[in-house]
């Protein structure tokens, strides 16, 4: 029997039982659709998070104090005070893999404009901060070296602060606000940046000269962190090594001592997050895969029922010249057609599902070609694997017994 005939016979047999064929396929459809949708959602959120991390800054290298903790208890506050402005200077002077370095001093407190007030974080930084963090001034200007030197009470507002104090879209440049009861002149407004990958509002901030924040608002002599840009993504690891080497030296750490600071790079963060989202994607895919397996078992189940129910048909086919292998091929073809057809519908359905989920989660669900190809291969294998035993059972029937079957 040639393959065109085989295909025709199998198709005709399936068409004779349209409803049952469809119900059998349903398991595969749901299985494939959920695998496709899950992989697409996973891939979509991965790319979204990657995008957000990239938008956080330019090849960013971050230095934080290494808070010594034991059993969740901070071992004295001194460990959070290890970074000084002199460290920023050392890095600027010595690190060749860094293109820009800025200190970061944080203070949080109430900000008041006439009868409006809001709670926010004030970041004390230097001019390089804009470039490092990929921030843009929407209106007005950023502060300059003189204002840093003079500890000027000038500030630049993020969009959330603008909205909270002046209403959405207002331009408060030139107005004065009170931060922790000190008057500050608004000299600029930042362009909005949206949520970060960690769900943090990146527009809920005020920027001011680090000197001003350090002395006037926080009253401390250390800085909270250092933000820098590596000259390129490839240079990120070099930059980290340089920073460690320089800071260990300036902090006069002994050979055996642990770092009293932590250095992270955006590139590393990206790698970590990517591997986490990958694991999540595979996990989701595997869970969805179980429903595909159940769908496959559904096919086997129905094929067994079908063989029993069609015993007389099998007997007849044998009596008019069907060999065991012809019967076997017919049932295998039926189960493969069912699973492949179910696979096609499942991919379409999964694609729609992914788009729907994507629009609900405000992230794109991305259906990759690989997962579609994989789905078809898996469906073919399911068709062969779960069709095999029922088909063999059919092929091994004795024609007379099959014809006599009631």
């Amino acid at each position: 029997m040639n393959y065109t005939n085989l295909f025709r016979i199998a198709i005709r047999a399936l068409i004779r039982n349209k409803l049952r064929a469809f119900l059998t396929m349903l398991g595969i459809i749901i299985g494939v659709a959920s695998v496709i949708a899950m992989l697409a959602i996973g891939e979509g959120s991965k790319q979204k998070i990657r995008g957000q991390i990239s938008s956080m800054g330019t090849n960013m290298v971050m230095v934080m104090p290494n808070m010594q903790r034991r059993g969740g208890v901070s071992l004295g506050s001194s460990s959070s005070m290890v970074l000084k402005y002199s460290d920023v200077q050392s890095l600027r002077n010595e690190a060749t893999a860094l293109s820009a370095v800025s200190p970061e001093v944080m203070a949080s407190g109430q900000v008041i404009y006439s009868n409006q007030n809001t709670q926010t974080t004030i970041y004390g930084v230097s001019e390089e901060y804009l470039e490092i963090k990929k921030l843009e001034v929407l209106s007005g200007r950023f502060f300059n070296t003189n204002e840093i030197k003079d500890m000027s009470k000038v500030c630049i507002l993020g969009q959330t602060v603008v909205t909270n104090l002046f209403g959405a879209g207002a331009d408060p440049v030139g107005l004065s606000i009170r931060i922790k009861n000190l008057p500050f002149l608004i000299i600029g407004v930042l362009k909005d940046k949206g949520e970060s990958g960690m769900g943090q509002d990146q527009d809920d901030l005020i920027l001011a000269p680090y000197t001003t924040v350090q002395r006037r608002l926080a009253a401390i002599d250390y800085i909270n962190g250092i933000f820098a840009s590596a000259v390129s993504e490839e240079k990120s690891p070099t930059a980290i090594a340089e920073v460690e080497e320089i800071l260990r030296r300036t902090h006069k750490l002994k050979e055996s001592a642990e770092n009293d600071f932590r250095v992270m790079s955006q590139t590393e963060l990206l790698k970590t997050v990517t591997s986490i989202t990958d694991i999540m994607t595979y996990l989701l895919g595997a869970i969805a895969g179980i429903s595909l397996l159940v769908g496959g078992i559904g096919i086997m189940n129905i094929m067994f029922v079908s063989v029993t129910e069609r015993t007389r048909e099998i007997g007849l086919r044998m009596s008019i010249g069907g060999r065991g292998k012809d019967i076997m091929k017919q049932f295998l073809a039926e189960s493969i057609i069912l699973s492949i057809l179910g696979g096609i519908m499942g991919v379409l359905f999964g694609y729609l599902l992914a788009r729907l989920a994507g629009s609900l989660m405000t992230s794109h669900a991305i259906v990759k070609t690989q997962s579609v190809v994989l789905a078809f291969i898996v469906c073919f294998i399911i068709g062969v694997f779960f069709g095999w035993y029922p088909a063999r059972k059919a092929a091994n029937l004795n024609p007379i017994d099959a014809l006599r079957y009631e």
Binding site: M1, N2, T4, N5, R8, I9, R12, R16, R312, E313, G315, L316, R317, M318, S319, I320, G321, G322, R323, G324, K325, D326, P399, I400, L403
Partner: protein, 251 residues
């Protein structure tokens, strides 16, 4: 009438059911020539169906030789037997055995699907010709449940004809039909036989057996009697004298 299509020598068939051995056939010798029209008769349980199944290569004898069209069937494996059934034999069953929800035409085409040498156009043409031969070309797109019992049996006969077999085997082909319809089936068989087709059928009814040229009567797994039919009936003549009943075919 000299070429023997079927040649059977001291053929036996035993069935083992648990401890008991049933001797369904206990030494049968039979010769059937090309162009013969043979009716197998006998009481229930005398071994008629067993004989026919062996003749149709659906079952193998326990002992004895069976030459079909000059080939010793005993030496063939299952696949070869299937090939043989496909090319040389046509079956007609008491219960028609048509595929449900499948048109008459597709049912008739079925044997040709198992013949790799038949192309799809030839297949359709042969099926149409076979349907025409049984007078049902106007019903080719009907499903079995849209046909009367007699029509269904004619579709089954068309199916048995489609591969141009050397031998047609029918196990009680009129068993489920009323008298008039039975005679119509016999008329069809007589036509086919007149055109040279060899036919062997099983029947309980003596008047149905009288359409054949020869009767073979079984008893307890043995041939009790073989006789040429002396006053052979002509189905067409009888049908002319029979009143057409109201329940017959609607057009």
């Amino acid at each position: 009438m000299n070429n023997s299509i079927i040649e059977i020598k001291s053929l036996r068939k035993d069935y083992h059911v648990g401890e008991v051995t049933v001797h369904a056939l206990r030494g049968v010798d039979l010769k059937i020539h090309e162009g013969e029209f043979v009716a197998i008769m006998g009481a229930s349980g005398s071994g008629k169906s067993t004989m026919l199944n062996i003749l149709g290569c659906l079952d193998k004898p326990t002992y004895g030789d069976y030459l079909l069209d000059g080939v010793n069937v005993n030496t063939m494996n299952n696949d070869a037997l299937a090939r043989f059934r496909n090319k040389k034999l046509g079956f007609v069953f008491q219960s028609y055995n048509l595929l449900a929800r499948t048109t008459a035409l597709e049912n008739v085409e079925l044997p040709l699907f198992y013949n790799p040498n038949v192309r799809s156009r030839e297949r359709k043409e042969s099926a149409l010709r076979a349907l025409e031969a049984v007078g049902l070309s106007d019903r080719m797109h009907h499903m079995p449940n849209q046909l009367s019992g007699g029509q269904q049996q004619r579709v089954a006969i068309a199916r048995s004809l489609v591969n141009d077999p050397v031998l047609i085997l029918a196990d009680e082909p009129t068993g489920n039909l009323d008298t008039r319809t039975s005679f119509e089936i016999m008329e069809l068989f007589q036509d086919l036989n007149d055109k040279g087709r060899t036919i062997v059928y099983v029947t309980h009814e003596t008047d149905i057996a009288r359409f054949a040229t020869r009767n073979v009567t079984f008893r307890d797994g043995k041939i009790q009697r073989e006789s040429n039919v002396s006053e052979r009936l002509d189905a067409r003549e009888i049908l002319k004298t029979m009143p057409v009943e109201a329940i017959e075919e609607f057009d």
